[in-house]
């Protein structure tokens, strides 16, 4: 497999240095840590909003560092959650005296390590709140499973919670804002190809030329089912139907839609998907307030996409439209 990497074990370290070199005025790396924070962290008197997880989802997480979104982003090894001590360093570096909200995606490693970090931070006297994003409607939330995964809907949580913190809200209120998004968002993804992780150097799963995976996560794990190739419209209909079945929205509800690329799919194809998605929203009587299209939460070089729908009210619209200045997302006033 041809890749622009040096040594597989150096990928994350070298990526972080490269990101800082590209945005020296916005990003800063904590000494000896695989953690980036916004250049001016901690921001005095503001609740810190941090996130983190495995690498390989770029621009998530560090791409969303900056005014109006995240204060800190921890980068684990590829598809592996960061360690508890790294997360703790990040939390402490982002506490401006008002506490820190951790936005965690629902994967066991992420949850366990954020739990550990929160315990450590608590001992140091930092107020920490955690929210766990579980927007993936492809997997069941049952007693015996780990619950639904956190995927692309996480970006909407970052945006809304980040804006709320920027407005000066307290920790509890910022956490409630994040929960409000989590309660109202659903996502489902699909893959045309597997990704190739640097360590393994070959596709994680084999997919025939005439096969696609539905219900994938963002770690190259196979999806919940494999089917024959479908057209872009058919894929869009399938994903959208599953998301809407889960959300059960009322007629006329305002929503934000997101077509998220998995890293290897051209924007051309994402726009094709978005075209059909908007038609479906119309058919369903939903009122699209904003439509996001792009690579927000990727899975290395995987080809495929996910579709996210989030119901919004006046408060969420205001927060999602609030100014943000980050490498991967800027919203102007």
């Amino acid at each position: 497999m041809k890749k622009l990497i040096n040594e597989p074990e150096d990928v994350v370290d070298e990526m972080l240095d490269g990101m800082v070199a590209a945005h020296p005025d916005r990003l800063r790396r904590l000494d000896g840590q695989e953690v980036l924070v916004r250049a001016d962290a901690p921001v005095d008197g503001k609740v810190g909003v941090v996130s983190g997880g495995g690498s390989g989802h770029e621009p998530t997480h560090a791409g969303y560092l900056g005014e109006g979104m995240l204060d800190g982003a921890a980068a684990g090894e590829v598809f592996t959650s960061p360690t508890g001590d790294q997360l703790n360093e990040m939390i402490e570096a982002c506490d401006g005296g008002e506490g820190v909200l951790c936005v965690v995606k629902n994967y066991e490693g992420d949850v366990m390590n954020f739990d550990t970090a929160a315990e450590m931070a608590d001992i140091e006297g930092v107020d920490v709140e955690q929210v766990v994003v579980n927007d993936d409607v492809a997997v069941e939330d049952s007693l015996y499973t780990s619950g639904r995964r956190g995927v692309a809907g996480t970006i909407l949580v970052h945006k809304a919670a980040g804006a709320k913190a920027a407005q000066g809200a307290d920790l509890q209120t910022v956490a409630e804002t994040a929960e409000k998004v989590i309660d109202n968002v659903g996502t489902m993804g699909m893959a045309l190809t597997s990704c190739v992780t640097p360590e393994k150097g070959e596709p994680t799963f084999d997919l025939g030329d005439d096969e696609i995976e539905l219900g994938i996560g963002i770690h190259g794990e196979p999806g919940t089912e494999r089917t024959e190739t479908m057209s872009a419209d058919e894929v869009t209909e399938h994903l959208t139907e599953r998301v809407l079945d889960d959300l059960e929205l009322d007629d006329g509800q305002e929503v934000v839609t997101m077509v998220n690329g998995m890293g290897g799919t051209p924007l051309m194809e994402l726009f094709v998907v978005n075209r059909r998605l908007q038609e479906l929203m119309d058919d369903e009587g939903l009122d699209v307030w904003d439509a996001w299209v792009g690579d927000y939460m990727t899975s290395l070089d995987m080809e495929g996409c996910s579709i996210t729908v989030c119901a919004v009210d006046e408060e969420l619209k205001e927060l999602l439209a609030a100014p943000a200045d980050t490498p991967a997302m800027t919203v102007q006033e």
């Binding site: 598809f79 366990m112 997997v139 995964r149 799963f205 996560g217 794990e221 919940t224």
Partner: protein, 249 residues
Amino acid sequence: MADADTQREAVRAAAENVADRLEDEKEYLTDLDSAIGDADHGANMSRGFRAAADAVADADDAEPSDLVKQVGTTLISEVGGASGPLYGGSIMSASQTFAEDGITAETSVDFAEAYLDKVKDRGDARIGAKTMVDALTPAVHTYKKSIEQDDLPPLEALGKAVDAAERGVEFTVPIRAEKGRASYLGWRSVGHQDPGATSTLYIMEELLATAEEYLEGDVERDATAVEQPDEDPSDVAEDGAADDDEGGE
């Protein structure tokens, strides 16, 4: 039991042996993880135990329990994912069982039980969920029974425990995953061997090899001849029934 110097050497040798073994098995573990997870188990475990072996290599006068603890804390900070807290955090926590009397037959039973409890607690996993618990539980129960009830020498008890772990690994193949990333596959996880159970077996095999060296003995392995391990009666009632269902479907 051996003096503190010998115990320290044994801990260092065990860490080194485990690190070497996981390096050798890195690709295989990653292949197992590709099928039902995210293809990082081999790399993570190998990197973590190499760092742990290096961390304890030069500790000359530390208490044996502190060395074991050091292995745990190094794994926590090097492995990440769920494996860091599960393997490292549990070793760290269980290391306290060696604090007073060092490593003896009795304290090693306590260590094994404390480790298992911590893993089950952290991971919230029971037998039959297709996780490392499926290898670990029969191994720990077998070890405890062999030492406490059957009065076997530690080396022989460990040999039986490793056999039980091996059967536990085989048990993970036909069942459906309920925990971790493999659970997202639902029925598609059936037919694949669990990578966490497998790395647990490898670690135990290297503990046995180290023990053979330090207790100057030889153990004959025979996983197929091992009796069904005695579970807690409560476990058998609940888990046994669930497992039968899973195998039959």
